[in-house]
Amino acid sequence: MDGSIQGVSVSAGKGVCITVSIRMRTRVTGWCFVIAAVVLICLFYFYPMIQAFNLSLKSGVGTNLQYVGFENYKRLFTDSNFITAVTNTFIYLIVQVPIMIILALLLSVMLNSDKLRLKGLFRTAIFLPCVTSLVAYSVIFKYLFANDGLVNLLLLRLSIIDRPIGWITDPFWAKVTIILAITWRWTGYNMIFYLSALQNIDRSIYEAATIDGASAFGKFTKITVPLLKPIILFTSIMSTIGTLQLFDEVMNITKGGPGNATMSISQYIYNLSFKYTPDFGYAATVSYAIVVLIVIFSYMQFKVAGDRR
């Protein structure tokens, strides 16, 4: 039985693990488990990344690239497009990620309660945005948030505003629209992660807390959140990465507009590589700027979470 399972693992790329002592065994076994992933990632991510870094030291048009050392990196600091893109992306990051995580947490806790009916329905409904095609929901958002769209009509009817808001045509509101779009799309996604993790929390802990007289809010803050910390950290980092690399919503809903009021860093990379005369070198440089930003923010979050790193 053990032999046949080993057989399957061999075909999936692991070696057969020969063991000597318990500690050696654990060490070698450990590496056996991770080796396939490490090799694949090195091949398909790190190798291109090194080439991309090489590219970031060159500049030129199309395939006529020459080495310019760190010129490209210096250029970043005086590139107004880049600075605008970074500012916009930061705004999205700082406003949107916390809102979304809290919302997703609340929803997952609600949808995990035994007493709730129609759970499957609600979960599917809230997850649906992730599954809705990008083309479809960007067209819809543009319709809903047009100057004469449903949202404005509703707000006018309810007398919340007295003039239509330029959701897509005003630099400030366009950013709000993007944030709404991202939240709409990704809350369900994060909710899934929390839901699946919540299943692994022992019910008896909650029961004991209820007996001790804890309120729902107390249970949430003192039991749920601490126990979910690894997952919250995970979603927070993934959301950070996702937002810093934001592309789809900006390209499809506002196209970076009005002007470049909603342009994101990834959109700028796309423009540099494909929309304008391609300057792959500088585009690679901007990509690495994103990497640096992500590293900084992720590191900060790891530290705050107090993980033993």
Partner: protein, 273 residues
């Protein structure tokens, strides 16, 4: 108490409606002709069959769906296997060296894909010369770079932190080998994690756009998102038909989700001990 329940249902109801609305509009639009769709019509029409037959005439819908399905299923299967083994490995057999490697692996998530596209393309173009079966314009070329992601490893690792180590000891005492423990104790316990990972991976593979766009050349190989993109690139797009295509393309992911979400059911705990 009642107030709290009412509030909860209300909150969930509004959230659900807001979430669903665009999807509903999508479905309604697939039953309308293009001119009605552009006007933002909300009422269903009778144009569904026409849109559908136009669509099938226009593109090889079945083959594109099949391509997408094969790629997504294989990618999900392999990615889950590789990712969970690695996540388990990094967490359970923890060591300083492994932690360092893990941190480096995380870096791979941080670079935008656009930067990797040209080097990856060059790699596969070179492969086309040596081993065409995994070169440009093959399903394997689409699957290979997406098979192992730091994302999944990170995901499984974090979830493994909530896994009880005593179970491993119990397994060892029972005489199971390390892989045996993984397959017979870890995997069943982490069912919900696998379900979530399956949904996310399937979805991301199904909707994957940039890499298949660049690496797949012939019509016969294309996946559904690429063909839908073609539909929209026209001086006069047929929006009803596009919506029909999108609805059809969305069904598999919705289905996968619906099947998997049943696994998010409490009741796992207790049975394990």
């Amino acid at each position: 108490m009642i107030a709290r329940r009412v509030f909860m249902y209300l909150f969930l109801g509004v959230t659900a409606f807001v979430s669903i609305f665009p999807f509903l509009w999508m479905v309604v639009s697939s039953t309308n002709p293009s001119v009605e769709v552009t006007k933002g019509r909300l009422m269903p029409g009778t144009h569904l069959f026409v849109n559908l037959s136009n669509l099938v005439e226009r593109i090889d819908l079945v083959r594109a769906l099949a391509n997408s399905l094969v790629i997504a299923l294989i990618t999900t299967g392999l990615a889950l296997l590789i990712g969970s083994l690695a996540g388990y490995g990094f967490e359970i057999y923890r060591s300083r060296a492994k932690d360092a490697v893990f941190n480096i692996l995380l870096l791979s998530m941080m670079i935008p894909f656009a930067a990797l596209m040209v080097p990856l393309y060059r790699m596969f173009a070179w492969l086309s010369g040596k081993m065409p079966v995994i070169g440009i314009d093959t399903k394997a070329a689409v699957i290979l770079p997406t098979m192992a992601t730091a994302f999944l490893i990170f995901f499984f690792r974090q979830n493994t932190k909530m896994f009880e180590r005593e179970m491993i000891e119990a397994g060892r005492i029972d005489g199971l080998g390390e892989l045996g423990i993984f397959l017979r104790i870890y995997v069943p316990t982490m069912r919900t994690t696998y379900a979530a990972a399956a949904i996310i991976t399937f979805m991301s593979s199904w909707n994957n756009y940039m890499w298949p766009l660049v690496v797949l050349q012939s019509d016969a190989k294309k996946t559904i998102p690429l063909l839908i993109s073609n539909l929209g690139s026209s001086y006069s797009p047929d929006y009803g038909m596009i919506m029909t295509a999108i609805v059809i393309a969305t069904l598999p992911t919705a289905l996968v989700f619906f099947l998997m979400q049943k696994h998010f059911v409490a009741g796992m705990i207790g049975s394990v001990k």
